[in-house]
């Protein structure tokens, strides 16, 4: 990406068009990004308005990160940026070029041992449908690392950004408590 030259928009990539309502309009705001995701460097060309969540799911075949509300209200899209949990639905992909991004797919490699938080979620049956689970797990990993899993009340408060429509909350608290013990 090109930094520093403020407010000089890049010219339309020649020959790039989008069809909206049957009208052919030039796509002026495509940008090419180099993203550091799960330890790999990934190239992607998207519209500037594309969120990190949509970039992951629609352009990078990383569909483990889920879209619940798309408005910051549910936590299903939680990923780590530079080691901290954030919401990928309210983050532009362009904002995190140059940062380190970790998604649920990067937590443990296929075939390897599960991350202790993943193992604890299995052990404690901390889900029903599983849709909120990747977000819960990414949030829990950070919650423990932050030191915010010291008591059940603290776990509830600091995991409140992850909703579970199936109401698996009691088991989620069990899993986070156990994983925190194991990781301490």
């Amino acid at each position: 990406m090109f930094f520093g030259l403020l407010l000089v928009e890049r010219p339309a990539a020649l020959g790039t068009y989008c069809h909206q309502n049957g009208v052919k309009t030039p796509m002026t705001n495509q940008i090419s990004l180099n993203l550091d995701i799960n330890g790999k460097s990934r190239q992607v060309t998207v519209e500037a308005r594309v969120t990190l969540l949509d970039a992951l799911r629609e352009h990078l075949e990383l569909t483990g990160t889920k879209k619940g509300c798309d408005h910051g209200q549910c936590g299903a899209c939680t990923v780590h940026v530079d080691g901290e949990r954030v919401l990928s639905c309210l983050t532009l992909a362009a904002q995190v070029e140059g940062s380190t991004i970790n998604t649920i797919e990067g937590l443990s490699a296929p075939g390897d041992a599960l991350h202790p938080v993943q193992a604890a979620f299995l052990e404690h049956d901390a889900f029903q449908c599983g849709y909120c689970t990747p977000g819960q797990i990414m949030s829990a990993v950070a919650c423990i690392r932050e030191g915010h899993a010291g008591s059940d009340d603290e776990i509830r408060e600091y995991m409140s950004g992850n909703l579970c429509r199936c109401g698996a909350y009691p088991h989620i608290v069990d899993a986070v408590r156990e994983a925190a013990k194991e990781l301490s």
Binding site: F3, E9, E84, G98, S139
Partner: protein, 327 residues
Amino acid sequence: MRDFSYVRAATIDEALSAAAMPATMLLAGGTTLIDLAKCGVAEPERVVDISHLKGLDGVRIDGKAATIGALARMSRVAEDPAIKGEFPAISEALWQAASAQIRNMATIGGNLLQRTRCAYFRDPATFPNCNKRNPGSGCAALTGVNRSHAVLGGSSACIATYPGDLAVALTAFDALVHLGDRQVPVDDFFLLPGARPDKEHAMRPGEIITAISVPASPAARRSTFLKVRDRQSYEFAAASAAVGIELGGDGRTITDIRIALGGIATKPWRARAVEDALRGTAFEHDAIKEASRLAVEGAIDHGANHYKIELAPRVVERAILKIGAAA
């Protein structure tokens, strides 16, 4: 969401020139801006990312004041040991806001400038009538679902509640909003809706928030933020109170008291009538209960939000009792 271009500001000067340009919006944490762009409320043509600017994210405290950079993240400020020690109400207002994820993204400057959660405001496709979005178009909330709307500071044009928590604590302790060289008391920074609810603050075109500062005081050191809401966490305030108190040498006389309310007014609401009634008096439950009623002097309800007039004085009372008891 409208298509827009994206650039990163490399210097504060670039951010300032961007702030003066039409159809251009600054992006800090993005938790308000991207949300409202998806709602079709914010329609920038250009988004200028200021979140990577250096030098605007510090927290500095000396004996006189705390100065917090506009780009400091909510989570960082909430956990700052000096803020916790000297301004507990600020730390509490921050950690009780939003969620851990949002607090890692959201900045102090962006937090002050968050927009109302009025459901009509947030849904232009379904509700064209909103004076805040579109001056002169009317107000769908006045006769609509207004359970979360303001009972104080409203006008016939708009009754949208200011939703933020931090600004309530800042208002109690006379913070200053730094707009580069110019500093505006936080109580003057936020405007009442009057006939122009689209004008929410005293920032001029081409200005940005660079920092906020809060004077240190014994009342700020002995302070708390009490937030009452529909669910225990990850919810906006139904009513909140930031309260700071200083007791005299006898441990009984209220020598200083600061009170501001949130969740019930169109801007963070300083409760000076309650402060004046209690300053100089003995710390005593009945008197505190009586004085707390003054917090909602002049309140007007719109039916569904009547409960706020009952709730707010109780929140003030409980916060004063809590902080007065915790020696």
